[in-house]
Symmetry: C3
Subunit: 423 residues, 3 copies
């Protein structure tokens, strides 16, 4: 297969204006202000730490950003092989005209200063979006985010619900919920009311999705809330959790988590909001790790755990991400069978080229083209172009244009269809 | 590697006359009569449904075949990317001279009529086998199939036993068993007698295999039936199941399922019949799915669950298919170690190019060449040719002829050896 | 990508002098004396047996080596496709000038005689190491190995601990421990003392690692042994095990196994010795298999089972091998996050080209380059060269030299760093 075919398809895909349906951008301060914001991202700090850099060198309180960058640069040698490092180099080459292939103690400082200068431009955030060919990005908003002070057409609210499902035992979470909804939660009915108010608030501010990350052992079970009747075990568990707070038992938490989760799905149905499920993460496995570099997983998870959910909510679209590549075949198969299951991106530990290529190819072959949401990254576009070139143009004799159209739908069309079309 | 090498090997493999060791053909009506029989296959209906086509549009009672085809064609756009769609296009190109690359509302009707005309030929079934270069095909026969009215040398009986193992609680299954064997099942001894008569019947009619599909949580356990003594727990469970029928408990069913399964293995040993195990499917996961489009799986299954079985029946060959690619390495390893474990095809959700290539290559490298049964499909032959070209001719400097011989053995020789050689 | 690029990188990697950090060589008799020693290795006997050769033809007591080789040669036809067979052919080509591509009853005898003659040279073992470009090799020593009579700089002691952890119930194991340490084990304190003496002995003789293979269900749990206090349940279990020996219950064995394992980790910490974990094997699954050809696995294992261990011993480096490729992503992720987790080779059933290529590429992309230990084999070097050529030189525009440097670090540098640098 000619490399030029791959390149031509890539160039077409790369010219598209996209929407990134999953970011952790802070809409009130969307852009980085120094290189420390980029090098401080967990992909770099955790790898530097894994390679031997002590945590306290990275997270020293009051550390000056420039000093932090210098310290990290001094420790990047051992991670030059990683794909994350290659993203960093590409990024600084594109945005700051960095001329080299490696970032070292000999060339970092002028880059730091150039970057700081460029980032100081008042329209820097807009420059970044424009250069990235991004029309808008989805946020990851705390449930009590006021969603004010930014353009919600460009920075799309997304209701992130981990705290509600997994941390309601914490008094501070319940306090935040009370403040956000002006509702005191005393039982299942008031909890439901409060959650309903969150949805009203988010939908009124243009939210396009509800989202949550889930541990491998989570298995939602149907909760019968018909005619306002709440299951007795839910009522009991919720009562205990409200009384006992942080000392509530695992079982109590599990029952409440399931009730909250099921209630979220019901409101997604009511508001026709897609419910993004990010399945498989164990939090805090390496407790002494750096910020956001403590989570890992148990790859023994199955979508069969979501069987009741998918059957109970045919009207809710579930864009699903899985943490481990070994779960990808199940994801492809469940999306092949269930109309409401959609594949969504390549998440975290599966976001490296070997896994993306294997996983994306398997999805393209077996999941309807309307039900696959790609991933916003140059690396992904290159891999997608490779798959389209090899497996469609060469192996199946598709025309280049037909392959490009398929790529466009995966990269952009399905974001529009899934998140912007109310059914 | 030259593409022409791949093509030359493919051409040689494609010229072979094969036996398909696993089909769902109805021997009394082996060929399709309209395109509705093809487009009505679950691969197409379930994908169209997954992409949004309501089930009742597909399964409307009394629906005219031509109308059904038109409706499905109108909904195939979203699945054009899938490998299943490419099989459809290749099929209608080869068999009906369809000239296009896509099947749409603009070109379907003449294809429908052409197909209907060709399919009306009295020797259509034979034409299909000849064009497919198939000498014979294995059937999937219900245990009470009379096996009459067809050529059992061409349509090879295969005793499918899911109903006996997993649905004996249903009164209708027991009635079918009684009618088929003229034996009333009242205890373990009579159940064993009835099963023995089924084997006599099938073997007398040229059956070449016993087969079953198994859920991921099935783990056969040794049942001691020596000297006619039946384990007390089996007797108790069977008695309950006969009394309680559909209301029998899961545990009761499990004990009986295991007894029946073990008994099947004993009769396979007695008759020297291979026992095809298709491991890993959960039935009815999506209850509202279309016909045969409701089954999925939990990929957390291990062949360690079959440890006792493989050890207890060294004289029975077990051709094994696994549903998920993540189980393929175990399959290759177990076939590498156990003389009676043979790899068998690429099943269902693993029957797509990405998985076949990864799985077939792993088997070829580690399992004796005499113990691998390939898969009947053009796609498989192409992938096999690719692996032989890249990994044998190029990487290992094999001659083309030697690679072709290996391919021939995988495609044809081992079917003969495993199913036609009584040891 | 040009094949010549791959070849150039391979040639550079192949010129390196390496240390093999995992072998089963007997230092007192390091080299084979006849072809029977090579063909009698389990890779060949188990495959020949799997393909139909009866075990008693291979393991007949008193069988003459030449006769054994002849018998095996007669049964190698069915395994010619396997990668193991290709290693055999390469080996006899390189070491004994074997001119053919297949080893048959027509050409084996002269090879046998040539080999026997060459192997009889007094410096044969040194010739093999020199031709293999090996500076030294790690051994797999029983805990009671006297470690005398060989050059421990060339044959590096490695304390293998399976017997201590999993077989302490056997009286003969405890007797060996007593003889080796002159310590009678009567409780946790004396057991700890005995283990400490083993470490002293091994470290004094230049041991560079402690090692163990672990079944899939093993999950080490923290044992509090601070201030000499031993958990009561450990004391009870150990007492039972010492009393009951081989009749001790599974639970008793599990508690003791965990105590011994945790104690080993403590001594590794004290002596700054890496602790090689080989995770995932079930022993004796096929009890009738040939010698060393009886073990298989359950691929449902997760590194989350080692969470407490990795957190509790930040000062111990854990070079980790996993048996199944489906665990490789977890291994890469855990090595990406935990500073003390290092990836180690491609073990046993994952030691075939398809799995190595997928697994090695995934590690290279995501694990710091200082934390990956490659694998000593020509096959591995070829695959590594392919990955470096395709994914670094071509995809990332690395210079050839930079790619070669990365390969050198994986093949050699990290063995030095992990096993020879005391932190």
């Amino acid at each position: 297969m000619s490399t030029s075919l791959r390149q031509r398809i890539f160039d077409e895909l790369d010219s598209l204006i996209l929407i990134d349906p999953h970011t952790h951008i802070n809409a009130l301060s969307p852009a980085s202000t120094t290189l420390a914001d980029i090098l401080g991202y967990h992909y770099y700090t955790e790898l530097a730490h894994s390679a031997g850099m002590p945590k306290d060198r990275i997270e020293e309180p009051g550390l000056d950003p420039k000093e932090k960058v210098q310290r990290l640069i001094a420790n990047l040698g051992p991670i030059e092989n990683t794909v994350q490092y290659s993203w960093l180099i590409e990024m600084v080459q594109v945005f700051f005209g960095f001329p080299d292939e490696q970032l070292t103690l000999d060339n970092w400082e002028s880059l730091y200063d150039t970057a700081a200068e460029k980032m100081a431009a008042p329209d820097w955030a807009d420059q970044v979006l424009a250069a990235s060919k991004l029309e808008s990005v989805f946020l990851t908003n705390d449930f009590d985010d006021p969603l004010e002070g930014f353009d919600t057409k460009r920075y799309i609210p997304c209701l992130r619900t981990d705290d509600l499902v997994f941390h309601l035992a914490k008094p501070e979470v319940r306090e935040r919920l009370q403040r956000a909804t002006d509702t005191q939660v005393v039982d299942a009915a008031t909890l439901r009311t409060a959650i309903g108010k969150l949805f009203d608030h988010f939908v009124a501010h243009g939210a396009r999705a509800c989202a949550i990350s889930l541990p491998p052992d989570f298995a939602p079970a149907k909760v019968d809330t018909s005619v306002g009747i709440v299951n007795a075990s839910v009522a009991t568990a919720l009562n205990k959790l409200l009384q006992q707070g942080n000392s509530a038992s695992d079982n109590t938490r599990r029952v409440v988590a399931n009730f909250v989760f099921w209630t979220l799905a019901e409101f997604c149905a009511e508001h026709r909001l897609p419910f993004d499920l990010m399945i498989g993460v164990n939090r805090g496995v390496y407790a002494e790790g750096v910020f956001q570099g403590q989570d890992l997983y148990d790859s023994r998870v199955s979508l069969i755990q979501y069987r009741e959910l998918f059957n109970a909510f045919p009207q809710v679209t579930f864009p699903i991400s899985v943490l481990a590549s070994v779960t990808n075949q199940e994801l492809a198969s469940y999306a092949w069978i269930f109309p409401n299951v959609v594949t969504h991106g390549h998440w975290w530990y599966s976001n490296t080229p070997t896994f993306i290529e294997h996983d994306a190819a398997a999805r393209l072959e077996a999941v309807p083209r309307t039900k696959q949401i790609g991933y916003y990254s140059d690396m992904y576009k290159r891999i997608l172009a490779k798959i389209l070139a090899e497996r469609y143009v060469v192996d199946r004799s598709w025309s280049e244009q037909r392959a490009i159209d398929l790529g466009r739908q995966i990269l952009r069309g399905n974001v529009d269809r899934v998140f912007y079309t109310k059914t």
